[in-house]
Symmetry: C2
Subunit: 465 residues, 2 copies
């Protein structure tokens, strides 16, 4: 495990604040070891730093009350959703109160004419999409986990559909948030666009709970397309697959998804999901549009794929076949873990200009081989974003050291290519040194914002900055 740094604790303040909150929240405030430990746990390789208490609010006013009590006693407040973040986002390095938002899980309004909805932060993406289906609507952002929408906003999440529909920054219209002093604000009205003042919506998106706690999210929705087709094609090399992906984007095909799996990932899928895909680099695509246009899009892609040595091109509009393929992609993390039973998965998250993608992926594969690490690659290649999944025996310090080396080396490589150390997972605790390398002088202004909003550093301390 990577050791997260502990920060100084305000013991007296923590005791007092928890005492006050206990009076108010009763059984909805818990201090047991197991629940605290679980609320410091994320899908991560960073050591656990549990909070001192977990509280389960039911309303924005209750969140404001929690933050006012914590602010008065200078006690850390750590927002918690589904606990599926990857960079130690919910750890409590200075202790404090974890605010579990999963009981704030109401869909407050669906404005189907306006293609938007308003949800509480604990609503998960699958819950929302199940609710919307009958109305012919969907919300496109799909990180691997069934994450909460408040958490997805907080980490500026994206996923396989981002190439077509953008990330959380593009799909949130407005936020309600409780600020570090306990004030409740709305960042925008419900209009689809606005030039009214500083964009606090986008400032809070990706701020990982360090500037305020999101209590309501207004989201853009999409109509479920009339037609959906999917396609797959194998390639002789990762480079060829990346070139085909780049050409597809340049050609203006409005792909909804374009995912790369390296040969090892394909092998893992075959074993786990009982498929018989050729064990070569693979592109998986999905197209959204009218019934005629999705067939046309798939055919156009087929032509491009052929130019780059693609083989085994198959396209389908069958829902069953499509779901089988995408379920396999969805289960990839678990499939890859089976390649080395008992191993811990460590995911990287760099994103580079698409012209540098093939080089970046290939160098990463070579580096993993050189270090003797077991690693697979899968990526949202239309965006230039890919994940290396390292399979590590975390009880082996040598392996852990090499994994740490590879992660750092790759973050540096991506930054040197005018890319970022994180396309969608966020900075959290794990990537703070790389944020400094990536944006240097700009981080001083991030610190100024943090200091003026939250002078006592109570909101999710030890993250991002």
């Amino acid at each position: 495990m990577v050791q997260a740094t502990a920060l100084p604790r305000n013991e007296a303040g923590i005791d007092t604040a928890i005492g006050i909150l206990k009076q108010q929240f009763g059984d909805r405030l818990q201090t047991g070891d197991a629940i605290c430990e679980q609320h410091g746990h994320t899908t991560t390789w960073i050591t656990n730093q549990p909070p001192d208490a977990v509280v389960f609010p039911h309303s924005t006013d209750e969140v404001a009350e929690i933050i006012r009590v914590c602010a008065a006693h200078k006690v850390p407040v750590i927002p918690f959703g589904t606990g599926t973040s990857l960079e130690g986002h919910v750890n409590a390095p200075a202790g404090g109160v974890s605010v579990d938002l999963m009981q704030m899980n109401k869909i407050l309004a669906v404005n189907s004419q306006d293609l938007d909805c308003v949800v509480q932060p604990g609503v998960t993406r699958e819950q929302l999409n199940t609710y919307l289906r009958d109305q012919g609507l969907f919300f496109p952002i799909d990180p691997g986990a069934n994450a909460s929408l408040g958490g997805m906003a907080s980490t500026r999440a994206s996923g396989t559909n981002a190439v077509r529909y953008g990330t959380m920054k593009d799909n949130v219209i407005a936020l309600e948030a409780v600020m570090p002093d306990g004030e409740i604000i709305r960042t925008a009205q419900r209009a689809k666009k606005s030039s009214a003042g500083y964009d606090l919506t986008r400032l809070l998106i990706g701020s990982e709970g360090t500037l305020g706690l999101i209590t309501e999210v207004t989201l853009r929705l999409q109509g479920i397309p009339e037609g959906i087709s999917s396609a797959r094609c194998s390639f002789p090399s990762v480079d060829a697959a990346c070139q085909a992906a780049m050409m597809t984007i340049q050609f203006g095909i409005p792909v909804a998804r374009i995912e790369l799996l390296d040969a090892a990932s394909v092998g893992a899928c075959n074993a786990y999901s009982k498929l018989d895909l050729p064990e070569e680099p693979l592109l998986l695509l999905e197209f959204h549009g009218s019934e005629a246009s999705v067939i046309e899009q798939a055919e156009t892609f087929g032509g491009i794929a052929e130019e780059f040595g693609g083989t085994g091109f198959q396209a389908t509009t069958s829902t069953e076949e499509r779901n089988k393929l995408w379920q396999a992609r969805h289960d990839l993390y678990w499939a890859v873990l089976q390649l080395r039973p008992g191993a811990t998965g460590i995911s990287t998250d760099v994103c580079v200009p698409i012209s540098r993608l093939a080089e970046c992926v290939t160098k990463t594969q070579d580096k993993a081989t050189e270090l003797g690490l077991m690693a697979t690659v899968a990526g949202h290649v239309g965006d230039g974003n890919f994940h290396t999944l390292l399979l590590i025996d975390k009880s082996n310090p040598d392996e852990m050291g090499k994994a740490d080396d590879l992660v750092g080396w790759l973050n540096d490589l991506a930054i040197s290519m005018d890319g970022t150390c994180t396309g969608e997972h966020g900075i959290g605790q794990g990537k703070r040194p790389y944020l400094q390398k990536e944006l240097g002088p700009a981080t001083r202004y991030m610190k100024m914002i943090k200091a003026t909003f939250d002078p006592d550093n109570i909101m999710n301390p030890g993250k991002i900055l």
Copy 2:
């Protein structure tokens, strides 16, 4: 004219800073009355407040030097592009130095594989698109004026293509800016998406030069679509046209443009552009995609239009016919001005949820009639954004008073409909009271950011907040 409030002047500081800058910039610093007055002028009904000097930098380092000198002497810095903003954005209510960026007009890089480019802030949108055309690329954001890209970022501009391609917030990847203390920062790398830290890119976009001066813009580009078709259809009422627009969006037709003209606007177009469109509410549309899909999209729209009583539906893939129609739309401002020669045009800019659009437009037309004001309506109806253009004799105080009443009444109406007082023009001097009404408590956090970045309030003072 609406009187803009003057702010206290720092005479000694202004004299000293201009003296220092004159040494350095020679003829590239001007203090003549005419040039200063011209640099306080915008397409606006707000009184002119000229700066004390205008300086023409050639590089980011020169901008940094200007800001450092002004910061040292607490002198206002007002960025200037093409001077086409509408809310007094370039006025100098406390005097100071206007920084004219139009000599920083180089296209620094076009990365065609990555579909992005890097430009200096004085590059205009038409200059960029002319440059890109041979490479099969274009930049979609098209405010009415041939504005500079730095200015467009500063006001979070959009235009007719926003329904498909988004606004400046969606099409800027990264910014270089000089901050109020003279430091040069880059807000992001060139990767298409990122979760690295606070989104300073989006914070600067729409900040109207009050937080920093944009010196370089990295933009997303689009491939010129294989097929483009356009269509028009007349409707018995504004309400019917808005309903058809709403259904088109809900149906998932990926319209590139969907513009509403009221009957008066159509009449003005007929006269000015020598057309013979039926003088009824009109929707003008454009579709981008493959050659087959744009024909299909237009046909699907035709079917929807018919349901809402649309008549005279015509679609075409002819470039000549399309350009004629869109040129008329583009010239609408001038066409409408001809309805009352000598009058001043005053444009509103509200944006509401699309379900409230028809009601908002109709009430506005009724209100103008009630006040006896000559007014036309045109709008980016796919976004819920429309402009009422009031034709006012500005020497008549009664008319000016009524215009002011209507603008205020409409801003309040839009806010009451969960909309915004500005979809794309910005707050500037003119809409500051409405920003307070619209976002209330959130503006306190905007003020905190302003105060911590720019404690002496030198960056474009008197705007937004």
